[in-house]
Symmetry: C2
Subunit: 359 residues, 2 copies
């Protein structure tokens, strides 16, 4: 049976609230059972209602990627925020951090001696600001090698900052079959980095890691905290990695079939709604929730071309279909609101309050 759309013009983002709540509860339980604090990454949903649901279900605080995301969520009532990013804090950003510190417990990332010094110079440290040293655990993006963590930490302490530990993002977990190695790398790198801090006499109470693909593998023998993000909604990436099943997908893009030709149908959701993310290992530009065999072979700004399997009757023109985006964080950041459904009926509309809060 064709999906019955709500009274919204397509394309729009629909959230199944029951699946969302179940995803939130399951991750909270997983963290509790492992003895880990859960600090979910809000960059995925950018939505106050979802952040509050995560906190109510037991999350210790929120993770964000930018100062402006922190500003939005603190304005929305969140009181414990970690900006998991190696910020370069000029005077202007320092003023914004100082202002945040007056209203919440604030923790930020640092991955160089220079960044530690400018952070200290440009913020009002009396207000209380915690620092975690970012460690590269194999993703080779930001973060120092574990052996250098103490050098950065000592520079931060010398500059007057309060270092509380280390963090990493095991981003090399993204890809089929990669989670296990990435999880081991994460634990090894964090463990080494924390040891160098302790040897140098620096606090390493917080050992923070985690991603959705590695979540189920995280152990509290090394880590104290995990920061998965995508698990609230899941997406085609998580599906193809095996991190979730279709029943755990809480967000889809509702689109209309606008054109048909032999072997293909075209939907009115393109890269400006789904996002253009396509890692090399994934099979298409997203998945059809109700027809997972069909391949989204091409994406333009306002078109998704779907190669339709020969033996399956293609949907009629005007049919609404649900698309699972490749990377849900990108799709949400393109939307102003999420249409919230329970049992296929619209029950609410949530603002993507931190959409575009990327600075």
């Amino acid at each position: 049976m064709a999906y019955r759309p709500a009274d919204f013009p397509t394309p729009y983002l629909a959230v199944d609230r029951d699946v969302l709540d179940s995803n939130i509860a399951n991750m909270a339980m997983l963290a509790r059972e492992r003895g880990l604090l859960l600090r979910p990454h809000a960059k995925t949903h950018k939505c106050r209602e979802i952040a509050l649901r995560q906190l109510e279900s037991g999350a210790a605080g929120l993770t964000v990627a930018t100062v402006s995301e922190a500003e939005v969520f603190v304005a929305g009532g969140v009181t414990d925020v970690f900006i998991a990013y190696p910020l370069w804090v000029d005077r202007q950003r320092g003023d914004r951090l100082s202002s945040l510190m007056e209203r919440c417990l604030l923790r930020v990332g640092v991955d160089s001696v220079e960044a530690a010094r400018v952070l200290a110079a440009n913020t009002d440290r009396r207000a209380g600001l915690e620092v975690l040293i970012e460690v590269d655990s194999g993703h080779h993006r930001t973060g120092v090698i574990p052996e250098m963590a103490a050098e950065v930490a000592l520079a931060a302490v010398d500059a007057g900052l309060e270092v509380r530990g280390v963090f990493t993002f095991p981003g090399h977990s993204y890809g089929p079959g990669r989670a296990s190695t990435a999880s081991t790398d994460e634990a090894t790198a964090l463990s080494r980095a924390a040891a160098t801090l302790l040897s140098a006499g620096v606090d390493a109470t917080v050992v923070s890691g985690g991603s959705t693909p590695t979540a189920a593998l995280t152990q509290s023998t090394t880590l104290t905290e995990m920061r998965p993000g995508s698990y609230v909604f899941n997406d085609a990436q998580q599906l193809e990695m095996g991190s979730c099943d279709l029943e755990h997908v809480a967000l889809t893009v509702v689109a209309t079939v606008v054109s048909r030709a032999p072997g293909r149908v075209v939907l009115d959701a393109g890269s400006k709604v789904l996002g253009a993310d396509r890692p090399a290992w994934i099979t298409g530009f997203g998945r059809l929730f109700d027809h997972p065999q069909a391949c989204l072979s091409e994406l333009s700004e306002h078109h998704a071309t779907v190669l339709w399997p020969e033996l399956m009757p293609p949907p009629e023109l005007g049919t609404a279909v649900r698309v699972v985006p490749n990377h849900v964080c990108s799709a949400v950041n393109l939307a102003d609101e999420l249409v919230v459904e329970v049992g296929g009926k619209v029950v609410d509309c949530w603002r993507v309050v931190a959409r575009g809060a990327n600075h």
Copy 2:
């Protein structure tokens, strides 16, 4: 010398107004010299100020991709709009089109008999609505094969719609060395489609095509109108295709170097600002305007990893750099405003008024 950023937190989008104006003037002149009407695609800039500049420089009207883009630009004073998309017009969309028709000359695309019938059934045709039949000229996305154009056109006429001609988007022009073939395909397909309309006794006054890569090749022997979009700003795609030089790039994303490691630097502009678009033929996720040799090898949501050539001194932490996005239409759709500069000084701030107007 390092680029000196304006007093905005990075990442932000900066427009060089002189380059923008020169791009607008050059395309207007090209169209005039060829005897073609210019109907630039506003999906690239989504910005009222730029639309008005295009119209003032001689554009005959505006092209948009969605009903909501049309609504935004008509509210901003534009009076002649073509929605170059095979719309599926349900009752709700029909009401929106009828409302638009009261305030502007409106033209829309159709590529099936069924779509023509629902368009006619759900709009108030007395208000005046022109239809162009979309033709597939080789991009194999939407549009009918030229031989079927008359069938769709006759169905539209039968339903009471006013058919004015045919249109296509030669999207297979995107890629190095592809523009010439795509331009020939475009002219051939449009010419055949227009001939079938005329043979069937249907008006084919408007023969509309065009893309930025094929713009310089467009001839008025077949086409009456061209609809390039990206030329106002250009981007890394246009650079790598040879459609423009670096001096024609009018928009860059200003980002800060936040992290360094041997062989790489990391910027604070990721896919949520640059867009994740990366066709198979392009060499990276964007280009550094001042260091075109450096390769943007990886993009996360808030990080661009730049492989830094060994013999070039890498920029210091905290340095602002300018990134040319791969696909400028995607980058603009992620931003709320454009910081407008003349000679490197900020002179204005333009709202991306149709950002997210994708339905």
